[in-house]
């Protein structure tokens, strides 16, 4: 039983980080319907920068967080301006834009590996390594950090989307970009903002998750796939969906590795993604936008 609880809590921490990544995917997707494959690399870069700034250079943690949030926002913005915007202006197909973001992912991954080294890096957890023991179950302090910050970000995002004018504009642009443009919303600027936000969120997710394992310039593709899986399970574009999708993914993967097979656990996870796409392509929370998300 203790071991079951341990597995569940560890899985929930990873799930929370992937929820954050899925959220960042949704932020971009719901305004521009761009699936940005570089999101996984953003998360990887957040982790690597966390190693560089906090573990290696010894900056205070809050400063590292601020620098990474700002820096990754700029990286997201750069991707939008250099790669995505020209294609959106040309009204290129969704798939074409996605392929271009693949190119961006290659560039970020290789630049990171060449600039910061090709080896895996240890990421120091801000609250130390010693687990708290609660009811006989050891829990890593970083688990609390991941889950806590994810919750805080979610509340902030909810407030931003539902209680501010900006949020209203974002929702309008998501609902009908052309209509939003007509009523005077600058959709281009909103897109830029969502890419910056997407970079920021993914970077923070990487910073949070790396102390649970380590930082590596090669993690981007793993992150991207897990993030997209979480987003799809929850429903692309849906915010509660991102959270539920992330947690379900984390739990399903961990429980399959624990109780089914270490060998076939990963396989089972991909089958789960396929099953969700078959049975409910719009995911758990995605129904309202079914037409937009392209089922025939």
């Amino acid at each position: 039983m203790v071991s079951f609880v341990e597995v569940v809590i560890a899985a929930a921490s990873f799930g929370a980080a992937f929820a954050l990544l899925a959220l960042s995917i949704n932020v971009i997707y719901s305004t521009s319907t761009v699936l940005n494959f570089a999101q996984g690399e953003f998360m990887m870069l957040g982790g690597m920068l966390g190693w560089a700034l906090y573990s290696a250079m010894g900056l205070p943690y809050w400063l590292a967080v601020v620098l990474i949030a700002g820096g990754m926002g700029l990286v997201g913005l750069a991707e939008y301006v250099l790669v995505v915007r020209p294609l959106l202006l040309r009204r290129a197909a969704d798939i074409a834009i996605m392929i271009a973001t693949f190119g961006a992912a290659y560039v970020i991954r290789t630049a990171t590996a060449l600039g910061m080294g090709r080896v895996e890096r240890p990421a120091k957890p801000p609250l130390g390594q010693t687990p708290f023991v609660i009811g006989g179950v050891p829990i890593l302090p970083q688990s609390f950090v991941v889950i806590g910050i994810t919750c805080a970000v979610l509340i902030l995002a909810w407030w931003l989307y539902s209680r501010t004018t900006l949020g209203l504009a974002l929702r309008a642009a998501a609902f009908d970009p052309d209509g939003a443009q007509l009523v005077g919303i600058n959709v281009d600027r909103l897109n830029a903002l969502t890419f910056a936000g997407g970079g920021l969120l993914a970077g923070i997710a990487g910073l949070l998750i790396s102390p649970l394992s380590y930082a590596s310039p090669w993690f981007g593709i793993t992150f991207a796939i897990s993030g997209f899986a979480a987003a799809i399970i929850g429903g692309l574009g849906s915010w509660p969906g991102a959270v539920v999708g992330g947690i379900i993914l984390g739990l399903a993967n961990a429980l399959m590795l624990r109780y089914v097979s270490g060998q076939w656990g990963t396989f089972a996870t991909f089958i789960l993604i396929l099953l969700v796409l078959y049975i409910r392509p719009t995911g758990i929370f995605g129904e309202r936008n079914a037409a937009k998300f392209g089922t025939v």
Binding site: F4, R118, Y214
Partner: protein, 404 residues
């Protein structure tokens, strides 16, 4: 109007295609001519191929550093019988189909006299096949799957086989422990290690309490470790290679389960100490080809530090260094680069290298074409460094096998 357009189209197509065809042919021909430019018979040409990209690139890098150190030393002394060594280095990305192209390029275009290659199983198999067909001597630097050299004439491996490594690990486990579990990485090396381990356990009438996959690059091994913990294994025989061992050790400490982790040399990789930290101290034992008390290793390490401003981290650098050393010795004995003579010299070689236990020699028995298992030496991490396991602990390791 239409027909005319179509006619023109067809003509254009023909023109276009012939231009493409000629262009492609030109590129290929130029490539062919360029590759064989200035083929001088003076220097000895050695082909060097390994994976220099991706998460395992430290392997290719270690191979390059070790070989180039040896080449520099040989060339500084005027080469072999007055002939310098030229190295042609290629990156195969650990991909067999790239390796096939590189093997052909080295053999039929660069006309190398011998090849050093094989940073993973798949590519090593491909190089071995190409070298056997072209009758070019091949030194396999790291790849330790026994099938690579089995039944081969021209292929020689300087590392001990994964079979011998795992036999040594299992024999040691049998001697001191009863409750044994097996973990493995799911790459070719890890699966081979698993299979040899299970076979060896079976032949010793031992049953593993669990056999669990720990694929490299996973973020968390908590679920698998929970499963191991529930079996109460005292010792984990790990057929792994890569960052997974450090992460595994960390995850074990987190849940207060600290069995001894024992495995082959592949456990010791470049960032294991960085990532594992205290979790790997004294807990991870591996059968490395480095022996700190081997004088040849000490000399090598000094020269390595002088050239690269860092110490050789793992057993890979001395293996690569010895690969070149052995080749040089064989060429010297053969009195030149005649391939058959070099092959013959390699077959009979005895080489005291920087890798391996002090007092042992590298040789290639006819049956295996691979360094015998006697070179194995137990290593661990102590005070943030890879060191030999002290002899008193080797006699009584149970003292360290912590809380199951």
């Amino acid at each position: 109007m239409r027909t005319q357009a179509i006619d023109q189209a067809a003509a254009t197509v023909r023109r276009r295609l012939s231009v493409i065809a000629i262009g492609v042919a030109t590129v290929l021909l130029l490539g062919a001519g360029w590759g064989s430019r200035g083929r001088d018979t003076q220097p000895i040409r050695i082909g060097l191929a390994g994976g220099l990209t991706g998460s395992q690139s430290f392997l290719g890098q270690a191979q390059q550093e070790g070989v180039m150190l040896a080449v520099d030393q040989i060339n500084a002394k005027g080469g072999i019988a007055g002939r310098r060594i030229d190295v042609v280095s290629e990156d195969d990305q650990f991909d067999p189909s790239r390796a096939a192209a590189i093997a052909q390029r080295l053999i039929s275009q660069d006309h190398v006299d011998a090849i050093i290659a094989g940073t993973n199983t798949g590519t090593a198999l491909v190089y071995a096949k190409a070298c056997e067909a072209a009758k070019v001597p091949l030194i396999v630097s790291f790849a330790s799957d026994n099938r690579i050299t089995q039944g081969k004439q021209w292929t020689f491996a300087v590392d001990t086989g994964v079979k011998e490594d795992m036999q040594a690990v299992v024999a040691f486990a049998k001697q001191h422990f009863q409750r044994v579990a097996v973990t493995y990485d799911d790459d070719a090396y890890g699966q081979a290690a698993r299979d040899f381990t299970l076979a060896e356990l079976k032949s010793l009438n031992m049953t593993p309490l669990a056999v669990v996959a720990m694929p490299d690059g996973s973020l968390d091994y908590g679920p698998q470790i929970a499963r191991l913990q529930s079996t109460g294994a005292q010792i984990v025989v790990a057929g792994d290679g890569g960052s997974n061992v450090a992460q595994m050790a960390k995850n074990m400490v987190q849940v207060g389960y600290e069995p001894l982790v024992m495995g082959p040399a592949s456990l010791a990789f470049v960032s294991m100490i960085d990532i594992g930290g205290a979790a790997v101290e004294h807990k991870v034992w591996f059968t490395d080809s480095i022996d700190s008390s081997n004088p040849a290793f000490v000399t090598f390490a000094k020269a390595f530090g002088a050239k690269y401003h860092q110490n050789p981290q793992t057993g890979f650098e001395p293996l690569a260094y010895d690969s070149m050393g052995i080749l040089a010795k064989a060429i010297k004995q053969a009195g030149g680069v005649d391939k058959s003579a070099v092959q013959q010299a390699l077959t009979n070689i005895h080489y005291a290298g920087a890798s391996g236990k002090a007092g042992t020699e590298i040789s290639f028995p006819a049956a295996t074409h691979r360094r015998p298992g006697a070179g194995i030496n137990w290593r661990w991490v102590t005070n943030g460094k890879f060191e030999n396991v002290p002899a008193n602990l080797l006699a009584n390791p149970t003292a360290l096998a912590g809380k199951p």
